[in-house]
Symmetry: C2
Subunit: 177 residues, 2 copies
DNA sequence: AAAGCATAGGTGATATGTCACGCAATGCCG
DNA sequence: CGGCATTGCGTGACATATCACCTATGCTTT
């Protein structure tokens, strides 16, 4: 719906975005905004989960053994470690996961999907996927699925390439400055 | 990065997403996550603005007279009114905007861009647009810009069509149940 | 083994976002 | 004019997210 003071004169060299780009950007922003909002709403009301909760559960469910160290989880879902730390603590209180130190490396905290957590996820998944299909794919002409994938994959590849940091890790300069 | 327990067997009838859809969805999620994160980071560190701040300022800057009622602003940027209310209060404390009751309808609060707010926005815009170009458009093959726009616009149109509510308004049943 | 850096997390403060209500100003109708 | 529903907002409580630090382990190097 916004983030588009990005428009202006089609100044070719560096200034703003050209007409076509503006159009793409606006469309992207609108979809992103609304989609996130609706996914949150749906999960919250149907399954008493937030979208972030769902992301965590999903990541754990496909992880080997249904368990993952905090850092791995963070990398997987693209969060800062600290956020994961806070979040899993809250989820643990709801018995969706449980955390405990690893036997090998005692710095590591392993987050593990509880049976209840798995049940909740399995109950929530169909509805979520359904929403995604209705909101996203039902309106997407089949012949545009390919191009869309290509486009987004190109964008992502480029983001990573010039990325400041690979994933959004919280990083600190090597003990100086 | 996640939100993709959406994969599984390519069950054609209703269950999950098929292979191509999974691919598109994964690409979308990755881009969305990372892009939002980076935009926030960049604005925050370069201009001491959050992405939401930027959205508000942008909306006001193009509004007629640099001012808008809360509800209009909310609709414009796709927020709940309550969120706008809280947010503009905080922004007012930083002298980015100022709020005041409308002369005509005294229920209405008009949010107005302050001179300082405009300056900050104008200072921030180039950097933001630049980031968007670098992160999003630099990696996007020109011949895919059109298809991407079409795809996202179709998706958006469909979302709106079957949308529960047009924009994310907070709605209450007409005084009953 | 001691020094020193690196790695994995946790924490507290503060900024944000959401929900459920509450209240006042308006608009209608009879 | 006297209700009374509607519209536009603000608020408080609570859930989340981010930032700047702090600690405990582990690893390497002498």
């Amino acid at each position: 719906m916004s983030r588009n003071a990005d428009g202006g004169a089609p100044t070719p060299e560096g200034g703003w975005l050209d007409g076509d780009q503006q159009r793409a950007w606006l469309a992207y922003i609108r979809v992103q905004l609304r989609l996130t909002y609706e996914m949150n709403r749906q999960l919250q009301s149907d399954s008493d989960l937030s979208l972030p909760d769902y992301d965590v559960l999903t990541a754990l469910s496909v992880a080997d053994g249904g368990l993952m160290p905090i850092t791995a989880l963070a990398a997987q879902i693209g969060w800062e470690r600290s956020r994961v730390s806070h979040h899993v603590r809250r989820m643990a209180a709801r018995d969706l996961v449980n955390c405990g130190p690893s036997a090998n490396d005692r710095r590591v905290t392993e987050v593990r999907l509880t049976p209840h957590g798995r049940k909740v996820l399995e109950a929530a998944a169909p509805g979520h996927v359904d929403l995604v299909r209705r909101l996203f794919f039902d309106g997407l002409p089949p012949e545009l699925v390919g191009p869309l994938s290509q486009a987004l994959e190109s964008v992502y590849a480029n983001m990573i390439a010039q990325g400041t940091l690979p994933p959004p890790v919280d990083w600190r300069p090597p003990r100086g400055e």
